[in-house]
């Protein structure tokens, strides 16, 4: 993340906060000014009161954001992260439930759960990846379709008592609780150990992208497919690889979330909204490791602030989603912000050069005077 990207991202965040606070203040029950101030007070109180929850959510968001960013690096837009993540969640639970029946719990159980969850994510991404790499079908539509295919197949598996994975269901709405069967990822205090997995993914992404041939190849496919082809890179295979890595990471994110923080999966009629947050995080974080980490922390704090916001301002739980949506909007409209900044700096430098001219003129005058003396 270079200086300019950081500056533009920062401005997008500030604008997103201000505009959403204004909208929310208009919709809150109290007066505008009090509610506007209350929005920020509640937000900062949340950070102080629930640091552990924020760290747990941040860990999940980092893995998910890096999943989507990996795709973007090669020009693959993985909107399917939501469905892949959901598959990761479900099959992680299925795995630990199955091991639980055989009397295996604790670390071996959740480790295998993470592996199977990761593979499940990759599996959901496989068909769109093949369609993209070998048939040229645009991934935006196919991955969106697979979001729904994934959630409805899993809903069916959860709710049908005769399904092959029915042993992992507690009721027709929900899976068993992985913490109750003793197969959850351990915690230090209230902080789940998934934060270490997230840090690992973060460094791996940074290292692979910056220092390996694979990273260079991925980036060149993203910059210019034709040039990459001419340089001897097999573009189709590379896109397939990247797509599968992206989907696998989304699956890992889901598995981490369910085994480390949330503990069970429920049926849903829409792809989980958190899955789409991965896209927002990757974009606002400019597809860089450090950017994704920073924005993940920010979005995690906003997600945790949803409930305190509702009780403090008696507004909907969706209000903080509005903040993230507006940050995304301002981040993607960076050209406008950039143009404005350029104009200002142009004006400023024009002022500067004017002043400099005036000063040199003064100096010259002085010199002239000195000369005359």
């Amino acid at each position: 993340m270079n200086n300019k990207q950081f500056k533009l991202g920062f401005i997008a965040v500030v604008l997103g906060f201000l505009v959403s606070a204004a909208v929310i203040a208009l919709l809150a029950e109290g007066g505008f000014i009090e509610s506007f101030v209350q929005f920020f007070v509640t937000y900062f109180e949340t950070i102080i009161k629930y640091p552990a929850d924020i760290i747990n959510k941040t860990a999940f968001y980092i893995i998910l954001g890096i999943a989507v960013a990996t795709g973007f690096k090669a020009g693959v837009f993985n909107i399917g992260a939501a469905g892949q993540m959901f598959a990761g969640q479900y099959f992680a639970v299925v795995t630990v439930a199955w091991l639980g029946q055989m009397g295996i719990d604790g670390a071996p159980a959740w480790m295998l759960g993470l592996v199977i969850g990761t593979l499940a994510g990759a599996l959901v991404g496989l068909i769109p990846a093949l369609m993209k790499a070998y048939l040229g079908l645009h991934e935006v539509v196919t991955t969106i379709m697979f979001n729904y295919i994934s959630i409805f197949v899993i809903d069916f598996l959860i709710s049908n008592p005769n399904s092959p994975t029915a042993f992992a269901s507690r009721s027709q709405m929900e899976t068993i609780n992985v913490k109750e069967i003793g197969s959850s990822i351990p915690m230090i205090g209230d902080v789940s150990l998934i934060i270490f997995i997230a840090v690992g993914v973060f460094f791996a992404f940074d290292y692979v992208m910056k220092h390996t041939t694979l990273g260079l190849e991925i980036r060149s496919v993203g910059y210019n497919k034709e040039a990459a082809k001419n340089a001897g890179i097999n573009v189709n295979t590379k896109m397939l690889q990247v797509f599968l890595i992206s989907a696998a990471l989304a699956g890992l994110a889901g598995a981490c979330w369910v085994l480390g923080v949330d503990y069970s999966v429920a049926t849903t009629s829409t792809p989980p909204a958190d899955g789409f947050n991965g896209i927002n995080i990757a974009i606002v974080g400019a597809n860089t490791g450090i950017g994704v980490a920073l924005i993940s922390t920010l979005f995690a704090s906003l997600a945790i602030a949803a409930f305190p916001m509702q009780s403090a301002l008696s507004v909907s739980m969706k209000t903080t989603q509005l903040t993230t949506a507006l940050i995304l909007l301002f981040a993607c409209a960076q050209y406008g912000i950039e143009k404005y900044l350029d104009k200002r700096s142009a004006n400023a430098s024009a002022d500067k050069s004017k002043k400099a001219e005036q000063e040199t003129a003064k100096l010259e005058k002085k010199k002239d005077k000195g000369g005359k003396k």
Binding site: V23, I24, L27, F77, I79, I127, M131, L135, G136, L137, V140, V141, T142, I144, M145, F146, N147, Y148, I149, F152, V153, D155, F156, S159, N160, P161, N162, S163, Q172, T267, S269, T270, P271, F276, I279, N280, I283, V315, S316, M317, K318, T319, Q321, L322, T324, A325, L326, L328, L329, C332, A333, Q334, Y335, G336
Partner: protein, 311 residues
């Protein structure tokens, strides 16, 4: 399924198909002008919200038979306003069109549910069946209510859109902006102005698609739209960006969805069968995409790229 004869079956399935057909038309207008529109979902959300809020607010003053006709202009206004999120960010601020569409979807979702919460203290707004006492005329045993008349009007609106797109100078300009914007500009067309107008029309169709979703659900909540905007985009691709094809394919999708819902109750899987029936349109889309992959795709050539005027 055929309790009310063929005519009844046709009308009910048409009603189910309208969100797909109008949603696809929404995407067609935008994409034909060169702006990729993933935001159809958000436009539908705005229309569904405007329908529910409008009917709730206006039914105090207007009789239930007529209220929907008073609300329709409000619905269109909402769609056009939300379409500006897409057009202004992509045209004026040169945002990536897909990302701007994603932003439009999430803003519409979060903002309008917040507004609904403010209105009724919950994230759902439902109204009574405003069509229950209506009877314009009957065909066989089918009572023709305003819903069916709106569906027919919707089809006419799509046909009018088709005429505008392919038979009028404005439509030619829209298509030129989507195929080759620099050539269009050299012919004296203001490409970006045309794109603003086309996206506004897209907003109108998208909001009307949302209206049908709200009318069949009799309200608005977080799952009223739930992905049907994305299905509409898939239909637009299968329809090769042609409105008449969109009517046919949208109708096939709507009919299959309806039949799946009706048949779902009879499957041997009990209550979980509902998920299998929900799965059908999405799987069908993938299969049709695979089958038609060799065909010329017919996408407007400049779709997805922002046009920066050289003047």
């Amino acid at each position: 399924m055929f309790d009310n004869g063929i005519a009844g079956f046709f009308l009910v399935t048409l009603l189910f198909s309208m969100p797909y057909i109008l949603g696809a038309m929404s995407g067609i207008f935008s994409e034909r002008s060169g702006i990729a529109n993933i935001g159809v979902e958000g436009l539908m959300i705005s229309g569904a919200f405007a329908t529910a809020a409008g009917i709730t607010l206006f039914s105090n003053w207007v009789s239930p038979e007529m209220v929907i006709f008073v609300v329709i202009p409000v619905i269109i206004l909402f769609g056009v306003l939300f379409s500006f999120i897409l057009s202004v960010t992509t045209i004026k601020f040169r945002a990536d069109q897909i990302i701007a569409g994603v932003a439009l979807n999430s803003i519409a979702f979060a903002l309008l549910l917040t507004v609904v919460y403010r209105m009724v203290g919950a994230e759902q707004l439902f109204y009574n069946n405003i069509f229950s006492n209506q009877n314009w005329f009957t065909i066989g045993s089918v009572t023709i209510t305003t819903e069916y008349i709106l569906a027919i009007l919707g089809i006419i609106a799509v046909l009018v859109g088709n005429f505008v797109l392919f038979k009028t100078p404005f439509g030619l300009r829209v298509r030129a902006s989507g195929e080759n914007p620099s050539a269009a500009e050299s012919m004296g067309i203001n490409v970006n102005k045309i794109r603003y107008q086309a996206v506004a029309i897209s907003g109108m169709y998208g909001a009307l698609a949302g209206m049908f979703l709200s009318l069949t659900a009799r309200g608005f909540d977080s799952v009223t739209v739930a992905g049907q905007g994305f299905l509409a985009i898939a239909i637009l691709i299968l329809a090769r960006w042609k409105p008449v094809n969109a009517i046919i394919i949208g109708y096939i999708f709507g009919t299959i969805t309806y039949m799946a819902i009706v048949a779902g109750g009879n499957l041997p899987f009990g209550p979980s069968a509902v998920y299998l029936t929900k799965l059908i349109p999405y799987v069908l889309t993938i299969i049709v995409l695979l089958l038609t992959v060799k065909m010329k795709d017919g996408a407007p050539k400049a779709v997805g790229s922002n046009y920066i005027s050289e003047q």
